[in-house]
């Protein structure tokens, strides 16, 4: 299985970096105001927003090729959480569109979102 590419520095993301933890809760509300809550996910799912700037053309191209070979959100890859080093073996890109901007040969920027999958 492929892995999310790293930059030339060896880093995966740049500051400001964002990571989210997501649960899924079903809430049933009754007429008397009481409610019952049901756990949707057995365990939470992670999501990382990877916003990259000051990329050179090689780095930007590598990310673009990764996006393409992953068929957007269709394929799965392993992602190492930069916060704690945990390897999440079943992740995919969130969304089927990748926008890039190249302001100079060493001033490329793009944003990708990685989501953890189940099943």
């Amino acid at each position: 299985m492929s892995a999310f590419p790293t930059l030339k520095t060896g880093a995966t993301l740049q500051y400001p970096a964002q990571r989210a933890t997501e649960f899924s809760t079903d809430v049933v509300k009754f007429v008397d105001g009481s409610e019952q809550r049901f756990r949707g996910y057995q365990t939470p799912l992670r999501r990382w927003s990877i916003r990259l700037e000051l990329l050179d053309e090689t780095e930007l191209h590598t990310l673009r090729e990764f996006f393409r070979t992953q068929s957007g959100a269709a394929e799965s890859f392993s992602f190492t959480d930069p916060w704690d080093g945990t390897v999440y073996p079943n992740c995919s890109l969130d969304g089927d569109e990748m926008a890039e901007e190249l302001d100079d040969a060493e001033q490329g920027k793009t944003t990708l979102t990685v989501v953890e999958n189940r099943g």
């Binding site: 899924s24 949707g40 996910y41 057995q42 799912l45 050179d56 053309e57 090689t58 930007l60 191209h61 590598t62 673009r64 090729e65 996006f67 393409r68 070979t69 068929s71 957007g72 959100a73 269709a74 394929e75 995919s92 089927d96 569109e97 990748m98 926008a99 890039e100 901007e101 190249l102 302001d103 100079d104 040969a105 999958n117 189940r118 099943g119």
Partner: protein, 264 residues
């Protein structure tokens, strides 16, 4: 055949360049959070946002002529992506897109200059010069820059070239035991569809090559590894039926162009 024009500098575009890749995935999300995802490769598309400033009248005219020739977004033309490498399989010259003369041996898995094993050993076992070449569906008269990283255990001289039927431009390069990036930048006067980029080795020469790249510009850019998709888009269209010219002074024009293509 219509081609998106180069500027007088030999570049296709100016900074900043915007690019979007749009794919399609059919996704079924289950209550547990599990997903079933399938790709729809037929809908893959790419778009570019190009902004031009200080275009000469001649440069503007070439853009306008293409717009009129393509009748807005009606018909297609070939666009050479300024953010990409025009050569396919830049690190695997055993693929069929590379045409080698009969006695050229190519083997992969050799240490490359960026710390991987993406380089190839290329040996000419013939008694005469032999070539390995890739054809690109671009216009022969554009300004191109071809670059290849080269090294050889025994110093030798090879030639890097671009050619079309009936005309070619070669540059001799001294290859030593240290990696160099051999560069050949030129434009042919011949006007035909298609151009080839390659290497010519003298009899008995053996070199290590890595990272072949061709770009529609006068100097080499950062290396971009390619596999089965390169920067030649023959089904490109304007994304609009309107093209607006702003003239800021005599011979100084500006405009913004949006292009779209299938991702093939």
């Amino acid at each position: 055949m219509l081609y998106y024009p180069q500027l007088s500098t030999g570049a296709v575009s100016q900074f900043p360049i915007g690019r979007q890749t749009t794919l399609r995935t059919v996704s079924n999300t289950l209550p547990s959070g599990a997903t079933i995802r399938m790709s729809d490769p037929g809908s893959a598309a790419v778009g570019w946002q190009l902004q031009y400033a200080n275009l000469t009248d001649a440069e503007w005219l070439s853009l306008e002529q293409l717009f009129e020739g393509a009748e807005g977004q009606l018909t297609t033309f070939t666009f050479l992506d300024p953010m990409d490498n025009l050569l396919l399989w830049s690190e695997d010259w055993t693929k069929t897109v590379w045409t080698a003369d009969p006695l050229i041996n190519v083997s992969g898995g050799v240490a490359d200059p960026v710390g991987g094993n993406g380089a190839m050993q290329i040996t000419n076992t013939a008694q005469t010069t032999q070539r390995i070449v890739q054809n690109v569906a671009g216009p022969s008269w554009f300004q191109y820059c071809c670059s290849i990283y080269l090294r050889a255990a025994a110093p030798t001289a090879v030639q890097i070239f671009l050619s079309a039927t009936g005309q070619e431009s070669l540059t001799q390069v001294q290859v030593t035991s240290s990696w160099i990036r051999a560069v050949k930048a030129d434009s042919l006067s011949l006007q035909e569809d298609g151009i080839s980029f390659g290497l010519q080795l003298p009899a008995g020469a053996s070199i290590v090559a890595f990272g072949a790249q061709a770009e529609p510009q006068p100097a080499p850019g950062y290396y971009k590894k390619t596999t089965d998709l390169a920067g030649v888009y023959p089904n490109t269209r304007f994304d609009s039926d309107s093209l607006t010219q702003t003239t800021n002074a005599p011979n100084q024009n500006s405009c913004a162009v949006t292009l779209v293509s299938t991702l093939t």
